[in-house]
């Protein structure tokens, strides 16, 4: 589904990703872990097409297409979803209007009919239950006045409604208490299917107790310095990142 090859990217003159190579197949859950500043969030943003980041080298192929040539909305219309680490507040636009617009834009792009507000309401009701949110949130402005946990749950709610093929969760667990974490993880697990893939970007192993990954990758200094199965996450929890950061820096020096 996703093939990342020697991806280099950064902001301005600052290179943050220094050659990422990663392959994600349908049905898989990949965890990308790493210390602060390792480039985890940059990877997530670059995959979603944030124009603030510049890709300087490498390729990303998504279902055989050149992902890097697609505008962010086209990526979304093709099934990519990024759950933001810091969801953006949009005062004055209701969640219902925002999400229905998104839903319809994606349907339109895929040659499907748009849904009207009432149909949409039917559709979202069960998804709201999934993240334990009240229907009243639909009439509130997007993320405005939401607590940290509400914002993250709103991301998962949006994901549930838009049902992406490739979901990227950028530190969705940070700042969540254990109850909120469970809700978020449950939401993600319910959406798991053989056709979809998920990349979970996280600093902590904690989330991976609830969302069990098939693969774990450790990022340091903009490179994947170690990959393994779910047991790698436990090892990281125990040993911390320091022993790997050295490896990353060393690899960088050699290159």
């Amino acid at each position: 589904m996703l093939e990342i090859n020697d991806l280099h990217a950064g902001i301005g003159d600052r290179e943050i990703l220094r050659g990422i190579t990663l392959r994600v197949n349908a049905g898989e859950i990949h965890a990308v872990m790493g210390p602060n500043g390792s480039g985890k969030s940059t990877l997530a943003q670059v995959l979603a097409g944030n124009p603030s980041y510049e890709v300087t080298r490498g390729t990303v192929s998504y279902n055989g297409q050149n992902l890097l040539e697609m505008d962010p909305e086209v990526r979304a219309q093709n099934g990519i979803f990024l759950a933001f680490q810091y969801p953006v507040e949009i005062p004055g636009v209701s969640n219902a209007y925002f999400l229905r617009s998104a839903y319809n834009e994606i349907r339109k792009a895929n040659g499907q009919e748009e849904v009207d507000p009432l149909e949409f309401l039917d559709l979202v009701e069960e998804k709201l239950k999934l993240v334990d949110m009240d229907e009243s949130m639909l009439s509130r402005s997007v993320n405005q006045g939401f607590s940290g946990g509400e914002k993250k749950r709103n991301e998962i709610f949006q994901m549930a409604v838009l049902s992406p093929r490739l979901a990227i969760l950028d530190e969705t667990d940070s700042g969540l208490d254990i109850d909120a974490l469970r809700i978020v993880a449950e939401g993600v697990n319910k959406l798991r299917s053989p056709e979809n893939a998920t990349i979970v970007v996280t600093h902590y192993q904690r989330l991976l107790n609830y969302i069990v990954p098939d693969y774990v990758h450790v990022l340091a200094n903009g490179r994947i310095v170690k990959s393994g199965g779910k047991e790698l996450a436990l090892e990281l929890e125990e040993k911390g990142y320091d022993w790997l950061q050295g490896a990353g820096a060393g690899a960088g020096a050699v290159a």
Partner: protein
């Protein structure tokens, strides 16, 4: 909304200053060699004034005072602090004859699009400043409520008019108010007896036709504990270059509550100066909302004076400009009595090469202790060539007050754009949504539901068109 700058009105406008200086010289008796206009526009107003219709002695005296004052003040230049960012040269250099009276080609059906509620409100229609009974609609308003044409009320000798007319609107100070006073003829008279509650909104529609000038004059006098909602709509059916110079005087009695909406939707070629001046007695409440979307050169003044203890005012506004429009909003809140809260929120969305101005003054007099004043002005620039000058002003002469003010000028937030794009929403729609959202929070403050819904639709449609273009 990202904040890229906070302006305090330090920008210069050399072109306007030059125009102003030339006009100033010409205005003072033609002593200058730069007089290129014949006849001088002030003389044209004078000529029309001389031909003015009859009226009771007190009114003739008031008109004469207005004309004299207008001639003395002349048109303001950009050296005048109140007009620093707005050159009135386009108005001063044109000769506007008094617009012809009569409904012309205006039909009732033409005005339907300016209605806000399908059930129909009590509506007074004025064409070129003159009341048209045929185009107006009556809805029973209850006891103690008088709504009529000012011209008719003067003719029938309504005594209260003389007591209030020209007493609130400061024509000594403001030249366009003086000009309006010179030409007082018609407009709306709304009188509420003590305790009168008007459930139905009263809609005043001012339609302009042709290329002349009209000077609508409205007087609203509300008795103790009365309550009403008044909407003033300034509209036109065709895109012509006329001039509307309107003045509304409002006296709020003790504990009275008025929701006042001024909707400036003039033709894009038109000139508009509209002043609403209010005096508030103790415990009275004013909710003012001012929308400005039309006009090539438009200025709205909302001036209120909190004369009595615990009087409150909320002044909100929205201006949307495009093309080469110049839209200026000036507000003034005078805290004269103690314990008065005032709240103000004005927002502007500026596109094309348009120029917006906000100038909001809050004066707190020495006696006005415990004043609680909040003022903010936020602007969104949609194009690199749009411009806004914002100047919130706070002058405090009391020592126990709480006052805040602030102004922002920004562009669409890149992160918010990306957030929307990442959900499948393309740049045009995203821009429309964010722009609408910026404007919407001030529209949210409108308590009159049908009006709010219609204005929201109107604003959304406007941004949708721009996104497509």
């Amino acid at each position: 909304m990202s904040e890229v700058a906070t302006l305090n009105g330090a920008r210069e406008n050399p072109a306007a200053a030059t125009d102003g200086a030339a006009r100033d010289a010409a205005g003072k008796g033609g002593a200058s060699s730069v007089t290129t206009r014949a006849p001088n526009s002030i003389e044209v107003y004078r000529e029309d004034f001389e031909r003015k219709i009859t009226g009771p002695d007190w009114l003739q005296a008031l008109r004469k005072q207005g004309m004299t004052r207008f001639q003395t003040l002349g048109f303001p230049t950009t050296k005048n602090e109140d007009w620093h960012f707005t050159s009135v040269a386009p108005i001063a250099e044109r000769t506007f004859r008094l617009a012809s009276i009569g409904v012309g080609g205006v039909k009732r059906a033409d005005l339907a699009r300016f209605d806000f509620d399908e059930n129909g409100w009590h509506t007074l229609v004025f064409v070129n400043g003159a009341f048209s009974e045929d185009l107006s609609s009556n809805v029973p308003l209850g006891n103690g409520v008088g709504v009529s044409s000012l011209a008719r009320a003067i003719k029938s000798g309504t005594a209260s008019i003389e007591r209030h007319l020209g007493k609130i609107a400061a024509f000594e100070q403001h030249t366009f108010t003086a000009l309006n006073t010179a030409f007082i003829n018609d407009g709306a008279l709304i009188e509420l007896a003590a305790d009168a509650i008007v459930e139905q909104p009263i809609h005043l529609v001012f339609v302009s036709e042709g290329e002349g000038v009209s000077h609508p004059r409205n007087l609203i006098v509300t008795g103790r504990h009365s309550r009403a909602t008044v909407i003033e709509s300034y509209v036109s059916l065709r895109d012509s270059a006329y001039f509307t110079n309107a003045v509304t005087e409002i006296s709020l009695g003790e504990g009275a509550h008025l929701d006042h909406y001024k909707l400036q939707r003039e033709s894009e070629k038109a000139f508009h100066v509209g002043t609403v001046q209010i005096r508030e007695a103790r415990d009275s409440q004013l909710h003012s909302f001012s929308l400005a979307v039309g006009g090539s050169l438009a200025r709205t003044n909302i001036y209120t004076s909190l004369d009595g203890d615990a009087a409150t005012c909320t002044l909100n506004g929205l201006y949307l400009t495009d093309g080469t429009q110049h839209v200026d909003n000036q507000t003034s809140i005078e805290h004269i009595a103690p314990n008065c809260p005032s709240h103000e929120l004005y927002k502007g969305v500026l596109d094309g090469r348009s120029h917006g101005v906000f100038n909001g003054k809050v004066y707190v007099h020495p006696e006005a202790q415990k004043t609680d004043g909040k003022q903010s002005n936020n602007n969104l620039l949609l194009s690199p060539t749009a411009r806004v000058d914002t100047k919130p002003q706070l002058e405090i002469f009391a020592d126990d007050v709480k006052c805040t003010h602030g102004a922002t000028v920004g562009r669409l937030d890149d992160l918010a754009m990306f957030y929307l794009n990442s959900r499948g929403i393309g740049p045009e729609t995203a821009r429309m949504l964010l722009t609408y959202a910026f404007a919407a929070d001030v529209l949210e403050t409108i308590e009159l539901e049908p009006l709010k819904v219609q204005l929201e639709k109107m604003v959304l449609a406007r941004f949708a068109n721009e996104a497509v273009a």
